[in-house]
């Protein structure tokens, strides 16, 4: 199997993630886009890992997973707290620096 | 490859075919535990009861409530069946195994994590408050039981040193059943299994008397039946897994020479756990939502973690 497959998949995923990140103003969707970006990196890592025949890339994916989980936990906590305060999850509503 | 494909067909067929008799058996067992006979009239001793139920459900009007998220509403029940069937495909029954995965146990856990989405999405999509609460409970329940389940499994995995079901059985054939080494993990796993398939005393997402029907309040006809299929396939799969993990799977006298006997052993052992779920349903009240979570987090999780250390100690001391 050609590694190009992985490059294509990864770059397209990255593009989709970036698109969402720029266009959407819904915080949750922005988080979704972030997850997609992380995953595009994962795909590439797995591809290279199999390409080189060692498992370091796969191990790196683990670390990415852990970071993603941490990001989701903290991010969601912030979003829920913001929602409680403002009643909105729209990024354009979060303008003030303090309440 | 062909053998694998045949096994896959066999297992899927077995799962789908086994569900109706199990519902029948459940009604019979429950009935007798309550001094009543259960289904009696449709067919000899009610044997055709599941068939009648199925025919009725197939030809029942299918309602999608107004205001529901149509796509997710239609899609959610199939999640439950697909997740359960995927999990079933990696579980060996005796010598029959469709997909010999290296990390089979983990795959089963992953798939059961997926099938919980059926409940959550059904609860969300129904646009009914009861369903919604049911869905919330399902989501919270996942967060509750996944961790202790993981740790309980971790203990036995440490002991066996593998995630492959076949290796596990081989280990147990050599050293004796896992329940002898890890009784606490066995108990924990039983509890979590009941919680995972959502049976009493942990049938909170359904919560018949509190939430009317929980997540399936708004479902009728075949979509409702699909939930049942998923639930019962899950019961079968997890019963098979418990007997693999702790009761030596297909090991037993003569099982080496005649693999078919092994299959029967395995099914019998799993049958006991299926019976156990009926038994629990007949006997126990239901936990409250917050109590269930606090049991999971405050009792089960610490016990499971300590148990992992115990398992490590066992491995260290016994030089297994």
């Amino acid at each position: 199997m050609s590694p190009v497959n992985f490059f294509v998949l990864s770059s397209l995923l990255f593009g989709i993630g970036l698109f969402g990140l720029i266009v959407r103003r819904n915080v949750i969707t922005v988080f979704f886009s972030l997850e997609l970006l992380l995953n595009s990196a994962n795909v590439l890592l797995v591809g290279f890992s199999k390409l080189h025949g060692n498992l370091y890339g796969e191990i790196f994916v683990f670390f990415v997973l852990a970071v993603a989980a941490a990001e989701a936990a903290v991010g969601l906590a912030i979003v829920v707290a913001l929602y409680r305060l403002t009643g909105s999850i729209d990024t354009s509503d979060f303008r003030r620096l303090r309440w | 490859m062909t053998a694998n494909f045949l096994s896959l067909l066999f297992i899927v067929a077995l799962m789908l075919v086994a569900v109706p008799p199990i519902t029948y058996l459940e009604r019979k067992v429950l009935g007798h535990m309550q001094q009543r006979p259960g289904p009696m009239v449709v067919g000899f001793h009610g044997l055709l009861q599941p068939l009648a139920d199925a025919i009725k459900l197939i030809f029942k009007e299918d309602i999608i409530p107004r205001g529901a998220d149509r796509l997710l509403f239609m899609f959610a029940p199939s999640f439950s069946v697909f997740g359960a069937l995927l999990a079933a495909s990696v579980v060996p029954i005796g010598f029959i195994q469709a997909v010999p995965l290296k990390s089979g146990l983990l795959f089963v856990m992953a798939m059961s994590a997926i099938s919980i989405y059926a409940l959550v999405l059904a609860g969300y999509a129904s646009n009914s408050k009861y369903s919604f609460l049911g869905g919330m409970r399902a989501a919270a329940q996942v967060l509750g039981f996944e961790l202790p389940l993981g740790f309980a499994v971790m203990a036995v995995v440490l002991l066996y040193g593998t995630l492959d079901f076949n290796e596990m059985v081989k280990w147990q054939q050599e050293h004796g059943w896992g329940i002898l080494y890890q009784p606490i993990a066995f108990l924990l796993f039983l509890f979590m299994m009941v919680a995972e398939i959502g049976r009493p005393p942990f049938d909170l997402p359904e919560g018949e008397s509190e939430l009317v029907g929980g997540f399936h309040t708004e479902y009728s006809g075949m979509r409702f039946a699909a939930f049942y299929f998923g639930e019962y396939i899950n019961i079968i799969v997890l019963s098979l897994v418990v007997s693999l993990l702790f009761l030596g799977g297909w090991s037993g006298p003569f099982a080496d020479k005649y693999p078919l006997i092994g299959v029967i052993y395995h099914l019998l052992k799993a049958g006991f756990f299926i019976f156990l779920t009926f038994w629990l349903r007949a006997t126990f009240p239901r936990y409250r939502f917050d109590q269930m979570l606090s049991i999971m987090w405050k009792i089960m999780l610490p016990v499971a973690i300590v148990n992992v250390f115990v398992a490590a100690l066992q491995v260290f001391l016994l030089k297994l």
Binding site: S10, L18, V23, I28, N39, L65, V74, V80 | L121
Partner: protein
């Protein structure tokens, strides 16, 4: 055979990913994201990264998306405004995304070797992870711990 599966799941994951970021309904978006991650898990399977695929499904499917959905359910959907979409932003975002992916693609292509699928189970991954990469592993676990504590601290309201 594996290649066919790879293409199938890759396309599936892309479609789901696109749905996830463009869907108006956040819950549907979440489900699409789940589909995307599961198909990515299947993609890993096709090259033999079996353990990783399962972990992907467990972590993303079993934990992260459930967390998202759970948080979403505590919000009142009626109050969530539907966002107005400005074509200018869409155009700029699309262009930017396209160029970036093109750049990435161009930059990484040109490798002649081919990928050799080999099955990597738990043990294969565990050995280098716990010996060679022990320090990063510990660091990541500390990060997770801090994240958990932080999430709890933020989530708690001052009653």
């Amino acid at each position: 055979m594996n290649e066919v599966f790879f293409y199938f799941f890759a396309v599936l994951s892309l479609v789901f990913g696109l749905v996830a970021v463009t869907s108006r309904n956040i819950v549907r978006g979440g489900v699409a994201l789940l589909g995307c991650f599961v198909s990515l898990g299947a993609v890993y399977f096709t090259v033999g990264a079996e353990f990783l695929g399962i972990v992907q499904v467990i972590v993303y499917g079993g934990a992260i998306i459930v967390l998202y959905l759970f948080a979403l359910m505590t919000m009142d959907f009626a109050t969530l405004k539907s966002e107005p979409i400005k074509m200018a932003i869409v155009a700029v975002g699309g262009a930017l995304a396209l160029t970036t992916s093109l750049l990435l693609f161009v930059g990484s292509s040109g490798i002649a070797e081919s990928v050799k699928p080999s099955i990597s189970g738990a043990e294969d991954i565990a050995v280098p992870m716990f010996f060679k990469f022990l320090l990063p592993f510990e660091a990541v676990s500390v990060l997770l711990l801090i994240a958990t504590v932080g999430a709890v601290a933020i989530g708690r309201r001052e009653d």
